[in-house]
């Protein structure tokens, strides 16, 4: 007997994880880059 499962639940969960992780990683890498370059520029001024 086959278990009745809605395939879209698994598809939506996969896309939420994949897209969320990718966008989170892009955002985090841009923010840390900006913060590090700001820190370097400030250390030049001091």
């Amino acid at each position: 007997m086959r278990e009745a499962m809605d395939p879209w639940t698994f598809v939506v969960a996969s896309y939420a994880i994949g897209v969320g992780a990718t966008l989170g990683m892009v955002g985090w890498s841009l923010l840390t880059m900006r913060a590090a370059e700001k820190r370097r520029d400030e250390s030049r001024k001091r």
């Binding site: 278990e3 499962m5 395939p7 879209w8 698994f10 598809v11 969960a13 996969s14 896309y15 994880i17 994949g18 897209v19 992780a21 990718t22 990683m25 892009v26 890498s29 841009l30 840390t32 880059m33 913060a35 590090a36 370059e37 820190r39 370097r40 400030e42 250390s43 030049r44 001091r46």
Partner: protein
């Protein structure tokens, strides 16, 4: 290659290449995923769950490519002492680990409706999980060696090269051992997959690869900027002590 050894020259290139890779990658990946979800057909046996393919395969490729990036940069660091090689290796670690985790999670979500189980301890799944642990170990070792006395430490580079042995194990695991996971559908120059699935998959792979490259360049810029700020602050602290 040594032409890029100058951090100033690298930064000049990374300043325009990084936003280009990220912008283009996000657009291409978004279009490919929309193609896969809304326009590509459902598969005859797997039905709608085949749409997980367009995320799962690019993340598996980038999980392995990330470690090959670490191994290549480690080799360059050990052999040619390239000043940016260790930075490139460190920059590959986080995106590589993220895509490996995405591959494992989406694979598990695909396995439940396709195989009737979230997880099996077979060669492909276990070697991919080992890759995630290798990333964690490499990041911890890299962090520890950076925060030590500041002298040259090649332990992460050696670990990066040794860990690369896992990549062919992942690739050939479905051929060497009986596996719940299917054998490769795409090999050099030929594909067992219909063009209806193959083209959105290749487009998604290109998009995510560009995103990966953009993130690596952003991480390299961040690591380089932090090192330059640290060096400048250290020089200032020494000069204040002397006078």
């Amino acid at each position: 290659m040594h032409g890029f050894a100058n951090p100033a020259r690298f930064l000049r290139i990374a300043r325009w290449l990084m936003p280009l890779c990220l912008g283009l990658g996000l657009v291409v990946a978004a279009l490919a995923l929309a193609w896969g979800v809304f326009f590509a057909p459902a598969e005859r046996l797997q039905g709608e769950t085949v749409r997980i393919l367009y995320l799962h395969v690019p993340s598996a490729w980038l999980g392995m490519a990330g470690w090959m990036g670490i191994a290549g940069a480690s080799f360059t660091e050990l052999v040619w002492r390239h000043p940016l090689a260790a930075i490139a290796a460190r920059a590959c670690a986080v995106p590589g680990a993220v895509f490996t985790a995405v591959c494992l999670l989406t694979g598990s979500l695909w396995g439940r409706p396709a195989w009737g189980t979230w997880w099996v301890w077979d060669g492909r799944l276990t070697s991919m999980l080992v890759l995630l642990f290798l990333y964690f170990g490499w990041m911890a070792l890299s962090q520890a060696s950076e925060s030590s006395d500041g002298s040259e430490n090649h332990a992460p580079a050696i670990f990066g090269l040794v860990g690369a042995v896992n990549v062919p194990i992942i690739h050939y695991s479905v051929i060497w051992w009986n596996s719940q996971h299917q054998a490769p559908s795409i090999t050099m120059g030929k594909s067992a997959m219909s063009g209806d699935f193959l083209w959105p998959l290749l487009t998604a792979t290109l998009g995510f690869t560009l995103i990966f490259a953009g993130v690596v360049l952003a991480r390299m810029r961040a690591i380089l900027a932090n090192q330059q700020a640290e060096a400048r602050l250290r020089r200032k602290a020494f000069s204040e002590v002397e006078f």
